[in-house]
């Protein structure tokens, strides 16, 4: 069953709560409020470590929501999104870093790039649009692939992005660190972008295209037979998801203020994939997964320091994925958005209550 929202409304015909987008808005509002409350609470009462963990959580959540929008809804594993994140980060970094710094760090760059000192939001928007354009072009051949060949081809995208970034010495400083990026990602900026990403991911999920994409995840031929243009909805999701991942990359760049191409490779890919797999293929799933992985990673990092055992967190993370997959192959939240699930539970409870009353009265 692909359309859980439709199924719930079909089960209770009298309880249609307005058009789908209004229900998506209402459904994501809860999550968005939770995210903003976390930001306010941590900012007011948290230690610097809490602040770092929370901000990193928001940034990774944005990337995870991007990956969710493609991989979670289409069922095709993508390794490319960390590459899109890198492109977004580098694009925004190049456009905002003060010309004075760029004169020493990348003296051979073209003049217009050297003198560019754009506003953070403008540069971020340009970066996102640019990455979406790139993703659209790459996506045209990629969306025709299914299953394993698709996954291997997306590894190709990641490798190509990494190779380009690490060899463009005159623009990105190649394999060396690109430094001097203005620090603009406060916890509130990160939380606001994350809340926006939740909304976009949720709206797309419940839209006709999202519905079609999710049906193709279960049966490509079946959904094509039902009138879904699978290539088209995949390309749409691919482009949109690359944009969200790029936004995450922009936040990442302006949080760390230094970028290295080698950061955006398999390790980060594994972390982000873990987030969406543990949570399940919904926007809420990405939030829950990102939260669990962020907190777990922080504890494991401390354990690594204590026992001086680098790599311990990845070992545990790997086992974590394996166990989740064996125990709950569809993620902790399964295929439900958290509000749909809660509403279903609530209705169930009421049905049971009214059922017992009727039964009691009858006998």
């Amino acid at each position: 069953m692909a359309n859980d929202a439709g199924a719930t409304s079909a089960a209770t015909p009298g309880r249609q709560l307005g058009p789908w987008w209004l229900r998506s808005l209402g459904g994501s509002a809860g999550l968005m409020v939770v995210l903003l409350v976390i930001a306010v609470a941590v900012n007011a009462a948290g230690s610097p470590t809490d602040l770092r963990v929370a901000t990193t959580f928001f940034i990774y959540l944005v990337v995870a929501l991007g990956l969710q929008t493609f991989t979670g809804y289409s069922g095709i594993i993508s390794f490319a999104h960390v590459g899109f994140m890198a492109l977004g980060g580098y694009a925004s970094a190049l456009l905002t870093t003060p010309a004075l710094i760029k004169q020493t760090s990348i003296p051979d760059a073209p003049h217009w790039l050297m003198s560019a000192e754009l506003n953070f939001w403008v540069a971020g928007a340009i970066a996102v649009v640019l990455v979406m354009l790139i993703a659209f072009v790459i996506g045209i051949p990629l969306v025709r692939l299914n299953g394993a060949p698709a996954a291997v081809a997306t590894i190709g995208v990641l490798v190509i992005v990494n190779t380009i970034l690490s060899n463009s010495d005159s623009i990105t400083r190649g394999a060396q660190a690109f430094y001097g990026i203005p620090a603009k990602t406060t916890i509130f900026v990160a939380a606001a972008v994350a809340a926006g990403a939740v909304l976009v991911a949720r709206l797309f999920r419940d839209s006709d295209s999202g519905l079609g994409l999710r049906s193709s995840r279960l049966d490509v031929l079946g959904s094509e037979a039902s009138g879904v243009n699978v290539d088209r909805v995949r390309l749409l999701a691919w482009t949109l998801s690359a944009g969200i991942a790029a936004a995450g990359g922009v936040l990442f760049a302006h949080y760390l203020t230094t970028l290295l191409p080698s950061v955006f490779m398999y390790n980060l890919t594994l972390t982000i994939l873990t987030m969406i797999i543990i949570g399940g293929p919904t926007a809420s799933g990405a939030v829950v997964g990102a939260m669990i992985v962020s907190v777990a990673t922080e504890f494991l990092r401390r354990a690594e320091d204590t026992f001086s055992a680098p790599g311990l967190s990845t070992v545990v993370l790997g086992i974590f994925i394996l166990v989740t997959m064996i125990v709950r192959p569809s993620g902790l939240l399964g295929r439900w958005e958290i509000d749909t699930w809660l509403r279903g539970r609530w209705r169930q409870v009421r049905r049971v209550q009214s059922g017992t009353t009727t039964g009691g009265g009858g006998s």
Partner: protein, 296 residues
């Protein structure tokens, strides 16, 4: 002319290694639809086995078989611990699980034996060359190619003329029906993993022969090449995997010889770009018969 012949020999040698890795990946995929990222760890395991045995002055007659056994053993263990509970799950789920397993093992190795690369003390004959007139050919390259050909013939014989081989080919065609015919699923799958791991072990012998240092991550690069080769050939097709391996080896050597020096570091990116373009025209590879779903 001399240059060309040497590059051809080089390409056949590199291609042999990729063909062995790709064939191992394809054997498991053909039956389980599992894209096994942990296949690289079979190569790493064989590498460390060779390092420790060579450091302990064990004769090489014993080390080479041990490397193959180590690969097969790790494969069988992982099948039991990680992949059997996931059998029948979606391709994406299994792929991700194997990715996670691969990373867990890599990092576990880093914790236990350390991240620093270790030099394997290969026997001196692997460095010697055969002089044929003006042409110099590494003995290692000859051994690699000849052994690979012999092993491919052996596997072909096994798949065609033994009961288990027949069962494996049947399982690759339709696993569910094969089980209904009374073939024990676990035996077929375990044998597939054993062969897959043994092929990885054999590939490791030749791979590390060319660059004799092993580190926790050294299996990843040959694994990626094996994937590309298997996808070019058509995932699930065994002849396709072998063909893809030799094609990739040849392509890589040709690029290495012809590209300007500044670009040789980007060969992987070029190969992936070619792969994506090739998939545009043949989404299921050259010999591809079986995709994620069958077109009606």
């Amino acid at each position: 002319m001399r240059e060309v012949i040497q590059q051809v020999v080089n390409g056949l040698s590199v291609g042999s290694i990729y063909a062995l890795v790709a064939l191992g990946v394809a054997i498991v995929f053909s039956i389980l639809n599992l894209v096994n990222f942990a296949h690289g760890e079979f190569i790493t395991a064989a590498g460390y086995t060779m390092f420790y045995l060579a450091a302990g002055d064990v004769p090489w007659v014993l080390i080479f078989p041990s490397a193959i056994i180590a690969g097969a053993l790790v494969a069988a263990i992982l099948e039991r611990v990680a992949f059997r509970p996931l059998r029948g799950a979606a391709i994406a789920t299994q792929l991700l699980a194997s990715f996670a397993v691969s990373f867990a093992i890599e990092n576990a190795l880093q914790l236990s034996v350390g991240a620093r690369p270790k030099a394997i003390d290969y026997p001196s004959w692997t460095q010697t060359t055969l002089h044929l007139g003006s042409i110099d050919i590494q003995w290692l390259d000859i051994t690699t190619f000849v052994t690979t050909m012999a092993v491919l013939a052996l596997i072909m014989w096994y798949l065609r003329h033994t009961t288990t081989g027949l069962a494996m080919r049947a399982a690759a065609d339709d696993f569910a029906t094969t089980r209904l015919m009374g073939i024990p699923a676990n035996r077929v799958v375990v044998v597939a993993f054993l062969i897959s791991g043994a092929l990885a072990g054999l590939a490791a012998i030749f791979y590390f022969g060319n660059s004799p240092v092993v580190s926790p991550t050294s299996g990843f690069d040959p694994l990626l090449k094996g994937f590309i080769a298997a996808v070019i050939g058509g995932l699930g097709s065994l002849p396709g995997a072998v063909f893809g391996g030799f094609l990739l080896g040849g392509l890589e050597v040709a690029m290495d010889a012809t590209l300007p020096a500044g670009l040789t570091g980007s060969i992987d990116a070029f190969i992936f770009a070619l792969l994506i373009i090739a998939l545009l025209f043949r989404p299921s590879g050259i010999f591809g018969v079986k995709t994620a779903f069958s077109r009606v």
